[in-house]
Amino acid sequence: MSETSSDEARRLAEGARDRANFEEEALALADQVYRVARGVSRSKEEAEDLMQETYARAFRSWESFTPGTNLRAWLLRILTNLNIDRGRKAQRSPDLQPLEEGDYFLYNRIEATGETDEDRVLERLSQDHIAEALSAVPHDFRDVLVLVDIGDFSYADAAQILDIPIGTVMSRLHRGRRILKKELADMAVEAQ
């Protein structure tokens, strides 16, 4: 074998090994990525489709990942971008977006019905209820809410994933939580 072709063979072998390592590391993060996929999807089926699209794209474009940087954030950036493309088609038009209420709104609504056992009210809020309420939160707010409150990401990680300033993460998170509680209010009252 000439020196050039053995260099070429070594390079190919190294490339294959790097790619296999990348794929292993990405798959090891799948549970964490799924938490976010489930949070931004209306159903499990939708979350599973989103996971498959995310991983297919990640495996295809693995060479654009810079080794040593945050792979979890890189995967979630792919996921949130794919989900934005989907969300734009399904999102309510702006004039129908829910208005925000204060942070005590949900509790006040429950109290007004005469219900005194708040634990029972919370236990009645099922995964379907919460997924439905989350899907009504505009996606800019929902992405931050899901990353921080369900995915357990720091503000800094969420800012990196969504490519927005930390201050924007905080304001979207606060507004998103208020919108979520407003959406949950009707369900909490109706489920009684």
């Binding site: 549970d31 938490r35 942070d103 995964q127």
Partner: protein
């Protein structure tokens, strides 16, 4: 500041309080109000429980079949 104004303020700082994002002085002020105000402390406790409930119902393991499908998406070597 009247008692009602204080509850309005307390509602405004509920999220940064639970996120530990207030200044020390604000945190102390909120704790002082919560100690004396059942209206606000009930609502703060509820918020904590709601956050826990959201995580509890939304976080679930991925189906093993999905894990396998993701693995199959790996490129052919």
């Amino acid at each position: 500041m009247t008692a009602i104004d204080k509850c309005d303020w307390c509602e405004e700082v509920l999220q940064p309080f639970l996120d530990r994002d207030l200044t020390d002085a604000e945190q102390k002020e909120a704790e002082g109000h919560l100690k004396d105000c059942e209206y606000c402390s009930t609502r703060y406790r509820f918020e904590e429980k709601l956050r826990r409930r959201v995580v509890l119902v939304m976080v679930e393991p991925m189906a093993p079949a999905l894990k396998q499908r993701l693995s199959q998406l790996r490129l052919e070597l």
